[in-house]
């Protein structure tokens, strides 16, 4: 209840954290059920008899369509988004820019309330007659728009829930953008922002631009569904003429593709920061990385139609979107190489956040590479709509953003709760998750390359897919192991919140504002005194700091003993672009 009333960004962040973790559990359990069905189709799921009494616990085709639809929607809108942006974004941004809170504290509270309402609708949808939504996470009309195809109120409830999530993301994005632009502490120039803040900032820009598009598309489907309009219902037997189903696909992917970057940009930012912190040196090519992230942000809306290469689009469009799609891999490569160069010639400390960041690099790298073939028209055709696509986007969107969420959580947990998560358990969790992610989604890539289409209740209806049964079983076993590995985190969380070690003031020995200017957890107004920022976020291993302070880090707002004297006007230019 406190979470629904408070306007403190840290309380809102924690509310998002619990809600997001809850939905992550729900979405993860649904993934396990889907994997069960692909490994042992039609076989009763142990322990599921209570939920599906008619089939004795076996998944039926309607139950299965509900599962894969809701797995996608829950993970994208109610797990990854709230964890990365709602929880870590709300928590980190004001602290990292040296603000006393969000620009619009009441808007923070409202963004969570609207999100919670959407989440509640989604949960309710599981209990209604005829079940929850079943039109796929993409909700293509006419399937999603007509009661004859998706009967029951579940589809409607869930789509209203998605609109709520979209409104919440939009409110959050307004708040983040204004906070970063207007509320930075004195001296916190754009060139001194941690990369995490940059990632969250670009994400918010994308949310501002593209979330309204999905809200409109979903809203129009809802009108088709509830009021009887025909925006997307052309030529369908049930209605006659009118609108165009393809219009929805354009609107959806105009949001849906940037959404990939919405979910990965904060992860990129964190990787950039963590490899610098734990290589004990400045981020290599900080400005290049920021420009690269900005370029991806700028291009993100211009590549969306590669999702429609097989929709019958005009050849001219196909060629244009193939070109743009391949171009976006260039800034991604620059950024990746900058991370590598940051580790090179560093002094690498394999802390939990660092290992999680390295794991993020690995799965994101593999995910990015497996996506290239989907960006060119000719190679997209055999792979389109197969498990290759599923494996690819799970590596980038699921594995990479999930590992980044946990990197961030392990990093900022002491700041959020004043306690240290158990390092051994955390390390076991992160390493096993990273390895198993590669196993599970690598298995999906293989199945897709061999032609397995996605979303099939029983893939083995097709003779050309029959030989993939054992591959799918192995992949499912890896998925169950991955699911079980999450218990390490749950145990760690419960144990730490009860009796975890109290965190020291600056456990990672880094200089960013939240660790050097505020206690853990920070008080309501964050900073007793608004810090005055003197340097960048990664001032590690600087010889003069060693010499004068005897340590390899210095706070962003901490003056070197001599520096305070030297900050006379003639010494200013030497500091360079102070803001």
């Amino acid at each position: 209840m406190k979470a629904l009333l408070s306007t403190d960004h840290k309380v809102v962040a924690r509310a998002y954290l619990w809600a997001g973790l809850g939905f992550l559990g729900v979405g993860g359990l649904m993934a396990m059920l889907i994997r069960w069905q692909w490994g042992w189709p039609g076989r009763p799921v142990p322990g599921l008899g209570w939920a599906l009494p008619e089939s004795g616990g076996a998944l039926t085709p309607p139950a299965y369509t509900g599962l894969f639809t809701m797995h996608g929607l829950v993970m994208v809108f109610f797990a990854i988004t709230p964890l990365l942006i709602g929880a870590l974004g709300h928590f980190v941004i004001p602290l990292a820019v040296g603000a006393r809170g969000m620009a619009f504290p009441r808007l923070s509270a409202w963004s969570f309330r609207v999100f919670a309402a959407g989440g509640a609708l989604v949960l309710v949808s599981f209990g209604v007659r005829l079940g929850t939504a079943s039109a796929g996470w993409t909700s293509y009309p006419p399937l999603s728009a007509a009661h004859v195809f998706t009967p029951g109120v579940g589809q409607t409830l869930v789509m209203v829930g998605v609109v709520c999530a979209a409104v919440s993301s939009f409110l959050g994005a307004v708040n983040f953008v204004v906070t970063v632009v207007r509320c930075r502490a004195p001296g916190m120039g754009w060139g001194r922002l941690p990369l995490t803040v940059w990632g969250l900032f670009f994400t918010s820009v994308l949310n501002l631009l593209f979330v309204p598009v999905v809200a409109v598309a979903t809203g129009l489907v809802l009108m088709d569904r509830v009021v009887g309009t025909r925006f997307f219902m052309a030529g369908a037997a049930v209605t006659g003429g009118g609108g165009d189903p393809l219009l929805y696909q354009h609107l959806f992917w105009m949001f849906g593709h940037p959404e990939v970057y919405i979910l990965i940009l904060p992860a990129w930012g964190m990787v950039g920061d963590f490899v610098a912190f734990f290589s004990r040196k400045r981020a290599h090519g900080y400005r290049g990385t920021v420009v690269a992230m900005g370029a991806v942000t700028g291009l993100s809306g211009l590549v969306y139609a590669h999702h429609l290469f097989t929709s019958g689009m005009a050849p001219m469009m196909g060629r244009a979107f193939m070109t743009l799609t391949l171009i976006i891999s260039l800034p991604a490569m620059v950024m990746f190489l900058n991370w590598l160069m940051t580790v090179w010639r560093g002094s690498v400390r394999l802390t939990v956040p660092m290992v999680a960041a390295l794991g993020t690099m690995v799965v994101f790298g593999l995910g990015g590479l497996s996506g290239l073939a989907l960006g060119a028209v000719a190679t997209d055709i055999p792979l389109h709509g197969t498990m290759w696509v599923v494996g690819h986007f799970h590596l980038t969107m699921a594995a990479a953003s999930f590992l980044a969420v946990f990197a961030g959580l392990y990093f900022w947990f002491p700041k959020m709760f004043g306690r240290h998560l158990h390092t051994g358990l955390a390390m076991g969790h992160v390493v096993s998750s990273a390895v198993l992610f590669v196993a599970v989604f690598g298995g999906q890539l293989m199945a897709g390359y061999a032609g397995q289409l996605r979303r099939l209740y029983d893939p083995y209806q097709y003779t050309f897919l029959k030989h993939l049964l054992s591959l799918n079983q192995w992949t499912s076993v890896a998925a169950f192991a991955l699911g079980s590995a999450q218990l390490l985190f749950v145990v760690n969380l419960v144990w730490t919140l009860r009796r975890g070690r109290v965190a020291e003031a600056n456990p990672w020995q880094v200089g960013t504002l939240e660790w050097t200017c505020a206690p853990s957890p920070p008080p309501e107004d964050n900073y007793a005194e608004v810090p005055e920022v003197l340097r960048g976020p990664h001032e590690l291993s600087q010889p003069e700091v060693y010499e004068r302070l005897g340590r390899d880090w210095i706070g962003q707002a901490e003056a070197l003993p001599e520096e305070s004297k030297a900050s006379t006007p003639e010494a200013q230019p030497a500091l360079g672009g102070a803001g």
């Binding site: 040196k281 400045r282 090519g285 097989t310 019958g312 290239l372 029983d458 050309f464 030989h467």
Partner: protein, 253 residues
């Protein structure tokens, strides 16, 4: 199960006249990507191992030289990997996929109207008179037949929801969208029976929207069509509106 279709790490067996170009491109692309993954992840592992707890870290965020190196490496990789993919994909698109000159010019091109419906593939042949929408149109359900060695020009639509026509062994995929007629073409390289699949989620029985594609010798195909056309004329029912879903054949896109 024959050896070719039993290989887990292989694409579905290619039975088309042009699919080998896609397959070769995919193979090249995967080799390049595999190499890239090895180099990059190997470099990462080496960096972590070599600089683990190194006594002194560099104090800078890169020199002009190291930043240029990053940009150069990215540009070279981009040029090689994305470049091959782009050029050869464009070649395939221009010469095969979106080049309807081939089916338009070939004298024996088979024209086929396909209507997707929950959960079946309706296929329509113009019949003996060569025109669509007449009494001798041949209609089949989830049973498509084509002759070997000639272009098959497909016009595709849907009656209810969005479906996706997939001929995995012919490297063909195309959406069936209500209210639109989408077009593609392919050419079978050998006789045999293959599968037609739906790749867009289209409702509960989506997974059962399976059809067969039989590639026949040209004489056998002509004989089959003649006989089917004769039977269709005999069974023609002008009042059966559900049977009249076809359209006047469209121009090439």
């Amino acid at each position: 199960m024959d050896a070719a279709s039993g290989r887990t790490l292989a694409l579905p067996e290619d039975a088309s006249a042009h699919g080998h170009r896609i397959d070769a491109l995919l193979a090249t692309n995967h080799r390049l990507e595999g190499l890239l993954a090895l180099v990059v992840l190997g470099w990462l592992a080496l960096a972590v191992w070599r600089f683990h707890k190194a006594r002194r870290a560099a104090a800078d965020g890169g020199t002009r030289r190291s930043r240029t190196l990053v940009l150069a490496l990215a540009l070279v990789t981009f040029g090689v990997v994305d470049g091959t993919l782009f050029v050869r994909s464009l070649g395939y698109v221009d010469e095969v996929l979106w080049n309807f000159e081939v089916p338009v010019k070939h004298p024996d091109t088979v024209r086929l109207e396909v209507n997707a419906r929950q959960w079946t593939w309706e296929a329509r042949y113009a019949g003996e008179d060569g025109r669509f929408g007449t009494a001798d149109d041949v209609v089949t359900w989830s049973d498509v037949r084509v002759p070997v060695g000639v272009p098959v020009w497909v016009q595709l639509s849907s009656t209810d929801v969005v479906h996706g026509l997939a001929l995995p062994n012919f490297r063909v995929k195309l959406d069936a969208v209500p209210g639109r007629v989408n077009q593609t073409w392919f050419q079978a390289a050998r006789e045999g029976t293959w599968e037609v699949a739906c790749y867009q989620h289209c409702g509960t029985s989506h997974y059962k929207m399976r059809g067969t594609l039989t590639v026949m010798a040209p004489e056998a195909y002509r004989a089959w069509l003649r006989e089917a056309s004769r039977q269709a004329t005999r069974a023609y029912d002008a009042a059966d509106s559900a049977a009249h879903w076809g359209w006047a054949w469209k121009e090439a896109p």
